[in-house]
Every structure is written in C-alpha cells, then in structure tokens.
C-alpha cells in the first residue's frame, strides 16, 4: 500500500472540508439535534416514571451509540459521493491508485470525521444531560469498536452499491441504518421481538452491543462472551464488504461502467 496515494484521498477530503462549512456542519449538527431531542425525552420519561429507572444511559446512550454507527457509515459513503458528484472516478482510477488505497483513504476520512462527531456527542450529552459514557465502564471500548466496525462494513458495502448502481442509488443508501435498527434492538430488548426478528438480530453485531449496554445499565456483569460474538460478526461483515467492493470495482472495470459512470449502465 502506497501511503502517498492513500494520503491523496485524505488530503482531497481535507481541502473540501476546509473550504466548506456546509460539509463541516453536518458532522456536528445531527448529533446535536439527537442529543437535544432524546435528552429532553429521557428527562421527561424520568420525571413521569415511578419505577426509579434511569432512562438517560439506557435510552439517550443507545440513541447516541446508534448515531455513532450511522455517522461512520455515512462518512464513508459521503467521501465516495464526492467522486460521484464531481464525476471523478475516471480521473482517479486512471492513476496508479489501487482500490485498496482508495478504500483506505475513505476509511481514514471516516475515522477522523466520525471521531469528531463522537467527541461533540460526548461533550454535549455530558454538559446538557449529565450522561457520561464512562457509566458503561470497561465494556464501552468494545461497544464503540463493534459499532465502528459495523459502520465501516455498512459504509463499504453501500459504497460498492453506489459504484455498481450509479449516482441515483444515493436514495438507497441513506435509509440502510433505519432498516437495520428495528432488528438491532436499539431501544428495546431483543426478547420483545417476534421469533423471526430475533433470529435476524442474532446475526447483527449491534444487537449484541445494545443487549450488553442494557445489561450494564441494569447493574449486571458485562456479557463479554456475547460482545466477542458481536465483534467477530462485525469483522466477518467488514471482510465481506471489502470483498464485495473489490468485486464490484472489477465488474465496473470489466463492463466499462467506471468510464461512463453517469450512464448508470452500459447496455
């Protein structure tokens, strides 16, 4: 892997962010809105609930962790969309740039921007609603890691879809996290789901994170073995997503779609 070429992808995104508040703003604004809406909701639920249950770490924390996964996925696809919007694939892929280097550049951009989102989220949730992610203790690290890997896997797979289906597939990409969330048990235990949805949840790494988070909030020991399963699943999905991206790239080179990308199909 050539670091200069990976760096070129990162530097390109740095230039775009530096000169464009409209790109920087979404890194923080959606997180801030979620913190406020769900923060006030949990505060209200705490005031009307007499069960003594603290909704802040269970509900607001879950929303913010899910937000983190969504940000990671979107930051990868956003970086790819920059090349879609500027019709730049021909320019980039006619250089010595390798697919793996392009993908590595997108990942670094996603790590930096989603990291900024995470920091903003932590500061705001702590300042406005007293939520500290440290409440989750040591399992916080695997929680974030599993969600991060899943977000990357989703982002890479979504990018492959965009590469294969063309610019109009943008609408298909954004709702992906929403489609997964009912199965992942972000807001409720998996046990409330019907059997077939529970079966789907078993193959979703975030489901292990949110089940684990609720266990920790309930004062139970962290389910390390379950988290390990979630982490392994996330790694498998990441590997599959990368293979899917490479295969898609080979297919669009074989058909010539990359050179006629705006046509969406060569037939």
């Amino acid at each position: 892997m050539n670091l200069s070429r990976v760096g070129a992808i990162v530097v390109r995104m740095f230039y775009l962010y530096r000169g464009s508040p409209q790109r920087v703003f979404p890194i923080f604004i959606f997180v801030a809105i979620d913190v406020l809406v769900w923060g006030f909701l949990t505060r209200y639920l705490n005031s009307v609930s007499h069960a003594g249950f603290n909704f802040v770490p269970a509900l607001l924390g879950a929303v913010l962790l899910w937000d983190f996964l969504t940000r990671v996925m979107q930051q990868i696809t956003m970086a790819l969309f920059e090349d879609v919007w500027t019709r730049n694939f021909l320019n980039f892929f006619a250089t010595p740039l390798r697919t793996s280097e392009y993908l590595a550049g997108l990942l670094i951009v996603a790590i930096i921007t989603s990291g900024l989102s995470l920091v903003a989220m932590l500061i705001l949730a702590r300042a406005a609603f007293g939520l500290s992610f440290l409440t989750y203790g040591a399992p916080l690290a695997p929680f974030l890691m599993v969600l991060f890997l899943t977000g990357i896997a989703l982002g890479v797979a979504a990018s492959a879809l965009v590469l294969r289906l063309g610019p109009a597939s943008e609408w298909l990409i954004w709702p992906i996290p929403m489609l997964i969330s009912p199965f992942a048990g972000v807001f409720y235990p998996i046990t409330v789901l019907p059997g077939w949805m529970q079966a789907v949840a078993l193959i979703l790494p975030p489901a292990y994170v949110f089940e684990g988070m609720r266990s920790v909030v309930a004062g139970e020991p962290a389910p390390w073995d379950r988290l390990a399963i979630g982490a392994m699943l996330a790694l498998v999905y990441l590997a599959l997503a990368c293979l899917f991206f490479f295969a898609t790239y080979r297919a669009v080179i074989r058909t010539g779609l990359i050179a006629r990308y705006s046509a969406e199909t060569v037939t």
Binding site: L90, N91, P96, I258
Partner: protein, 253 residues
C-alpha cells in the same frame, strides 16, 4: 550503420472489446515509440475512446495485451500507470478543488518527487499562476483544458494519452499547447497517443497517424504524405473518404 529504432513506450497487441453484439475494438495492434506522437483518428464511434480507456486501465479488454514501458497492464496496473498520464475533454478535474489543490492531490497519486516545485513550474508553463487559488469549476473551458494538461504533465509521463486535448480552446491557445507538448516529447523519453477530429492539428504534430474505423485500424502512415499516397487533396479529405468507405462497408454487411 543504422541506429536502432527507439524503444516502444506502448505496445498494443490484438486488442479487443465488445459491448454486447457490437465489436467496439476488433484486434487492434500498434506501438508508440519514445519521442513519437501518434495520431489516432476516426469517425465518432470508431473505437478511439474505448481503446484509450483500455490503455488507461479503466476498461478491461475482451482480449489482447497492453504493455506500457515493458509492464503488462493486466499484471501490474499500478506500476504501468505510474508512467502514464492523460487529458481528455470528457474528464475535467474536480471543480470543487482549486487549481493548486487539484495538482497537489494528483501529484500525490502519481508520487511526484519535489511536488511543490513541480506544481510551480506547471502553473507557470500553462499560464495558471493567477488561477492557483481559483476553483477548477469556475475556470473557462480553455483554462480547464490547460489545467488538465498541467495535471497530465505532473509525473513527466513516458506515455501521454491525449483525447481531443484542444477541442475546446481557441486557435492561438491550441497552437501554444501543441508546441508545448511537442517540446516535451522532443526530450525523447515520452511517447504520445493523440486523438483528434482536427486534421490540421494531426498533420501539424503527429509523426504517424492511424485511421480507426469500426474498431479496426484501416490506414496508417505519415500524415504529411498519406493524403497524396491515397489520391486525396488533404488529410481532411482522406478522413472523409475513409469514413464514408467504412460507412458503406458497414451498410453492406
């Protein structure tokens, strides 16, 4: 004693590409030597851009072989393309980056040594100094062409692919650009494959021209003597004759 011919920077052997039933490129073979400018001309849809896309590694050939500086493109695409660059009217650089940012990003992709100095030189050569902080998207089409050419020269390519490089610029600028490219090629290390619909341009800059029609090279030779050899008044007339013959041939199939 005869001097050995200059080594080939590009070798294309029996190149093929079909889109469905259409054979876009049909067994094309040619070479481009160091210090040589080769024109690739033909009517729209003849297979020029398809050929160039295959040489650039953005379209997989259906058959045949492409070798750039002795490196098989199918075996080591990245190494082969590190010696190559291109400019094409249909591939403008990202309009949301400035002139300088575009050159920096592409310079990094090509691994250009001493990139800041190289950028300064190219900004001066292509008269882009005053636009260095201007976004590429707001440049005139002529300025965008100059930027594309500056990008194409970043890595001092051994193989330069130019797909109608002067299509959108005025005659005065076009002449300067042709002279600049010819001067770059005169150093003897770079070979150029140049497509154009401007036969005057082909005659002015190309050492050799190949007529492509229906994916095949149907005529090849020195653009200065080829019209006379084939009883045409000019290269323009020869182009029209070849295109019409190919059209009749296709109609008779």
């Amino acid at each position: 004693m005869n001097r050995p011919p200059p080594p080939a920077v590009l070798k294309v052997e029996r190149l093929e590409k079909s889109f469905g039933e259409v054979r876009a490129v049909d067994g094309v073979s040619f070479r481009v030597a160091q210090g040589e400018i080769v024109g690739l001309v033909g009517p729209n849809g003849a297979g020029k851009t398809t050929t160039i896309n295959m040489i650039l590694g953005v379209l997989e050939p259906g058959g045949g072989r492409i070798e750039i500086e002795g490196v098989d493109l199918a075996v080591d695409r990245s190494r082969a393309l590190s010696n190559t660059n291109f400019a094409a009217v249909y591939a403008p650089l990202p309009g949301n980056l400035t002139v300088e940012q575009n050159l920096r990003v592409f310079g990094m992709l090509y691994g250009v040594r001493d990139l800041p100095a190289r950028i300064e030189k190219l900004l001066a050569v292509y008269d882009l100094m005053r636009y260095r902080r201007t976004k590429a998207g707001v440049l005139s089409s002529g300025e965008q062409t100059r930027l594309s050419l500056a990008k194409a020269m970043l890595n001092r390519p051994r193989l330069l692919l130019l797909d109608e490089p002067t299509a959108s610029i005025d005659p005065s600028n076009a002449r300067d650009i042709r002279a600049g490219i010819a001067k770059f090629v005169d150093n003897g290390l770079c070979g150029v494959l140049w497509t154009s619909h401007n036969m005057y341009e082909v005659q002015a800059v190309c050492d050799r021209v190949m007529f492509l029609s229906h994916g095949r090279i149907v005529l090849e030779g020195d653009p200065k003597t080829l019209p006379e050899e084939h009883g045409a008044a000019s290269l323009d007339d020869l182009f029209v004759n070849v295109a019409q013959e190919a059209l009749h041939e296709a109609g008779g199939r």
